[in-house]
Symmetry: C2
Subunit: 191 residues, 2 copies
DNA sequence: CAAACAAACTAACAAGTGTTAGTTTTATGT
DNA sequence: ACATAAAACTAACACTTGTTAGTTTGTTTG
């Protein structure tokens, strides 16, 4: 982690602070103190507070879009596609625990990038819903309202960042498997 | 809605603003403008910005605690208990859409009430987990890690506020039934 | 060594923050 | 009509906000 630029370091530290208190409650002086410098010095590396938020959020949002495109273009069954999406969320969330908090809580404070972000998000949700609908049509998935299904699964996946850091040792593969079971097969015991 | 006090009205409007921008980003002048008054006038009805947040959050947190106590003391099976908890979340969330946002996003900005809030929340989670463990012991629920199960179900339920207002007409009972199916039985089609 | 550059610093700004004090308006009950 | 109380107002406060300008320090390169 020693070949990261000073800018990247600032953004990484900012994401951590944003997770704890939210974008609006974190001041440039807070960020500077954590970085062991004065607030004005931050501006040698970044252009504005807003820019930090943009980089944190848009970087992750694009990763999800790319991941979804890969899943979408595969020839897997819908259930397998869903499992791949679950794995995508576990992977991206575990690698961006702090950034995911900003993405979930502070996207509304985006300014110039607010439109582009919303587009990425709604495209993602549409793709997700489409997979569920195909699954229902193919008889793989129960014919419950796709909206409710998507909401249920996606909010769980979007909240992973809250929960992954609490696990002592994170077995990502095990977590992915458990989530797949719970989200797809439910929790009820079958006989 | 005409027998609500001016204080209650302020708190209700504040909750709506908090949902849109978060506690820290909402200024007393924002709140006053929305209420068609000057910021200083707010202080005829409330003592501080912090107090508004406390009332919004603690009021709801207590409702969940009371609801959980009722479920806990019943003689229902674990699956029925879970369904009752789902119904509890649908009910409280639909009646406090704006407040739920503050509870989920802004609890960390509580000051005097931060400790009490955290206690309520962790007690609630422990009760929830206990129900799942009993269900596993009784053979009603699949023997997956109770932590992962609780996380998955609870994050979905905690995010209901994001989603309920989007439904055109809200059939609360139908929503509760659909969620129960999805969260308990999963989405896969059984043959 | 000297030149060049990156990255820290001090000082200051204009605007916005929650909140208080004191005053005026508006409605209520006798 | 008048006293009372509720609820609005104006003005101001001390402090914090993001950001800029200009300067100094330290490190690399020719």
């Amino acid at each position: 982690m020693e070949n990261e630029t000073r800018q990247e370091e600032i953004i990484r530290v900012a994401a951590k602070l944003f997770k704890e208190k939210g974008y609006s409650a974190v001041t440039m002086r807070d960020l500077a103190t954590t970085m062991n410098m004065k607030a004005a010095s931050l501006y040698n590396h970044i252009n504005s507070k807003q820019e930090i938020l943009e980089k944190i959020i848009m970087r992750i949002a694009r990763k999800f879009s790319v991941g979804m495109a890969t899943v979408k273009s595969s020839n897997d069954s819908c259930i397998v596609k869903l499992k791949k999406i679950i794995a995508l969320h576990v992977e991206v969330s575990s690698q961006n625990i702090y950034g995911m908090a900003a993405l979930n809580h502070d996207w509304m404070h985006l300014e110039a990038q607010l439109g582009p972000y919303k587009k990425l998000r709604s495209d993602y949700e549409n793709d997700f819903k489409e997979i569920l609908k195909e699954g229902i049509a193919a008889g793989e998935i129960s014919p419950i309202k796709p909206d409710v299904m998507m909401f249920s699964i996606l909010t769980t996946l979007r909240s992973l960042y809250l929960w992954i850091p609490k696990k002592e040792v994170i077995h990502l593969e095990e977590l992915t498997n458990n989530l797949s079971k719970i989200l797809i097969n439910g929790i009820i015991k079958e006989n």
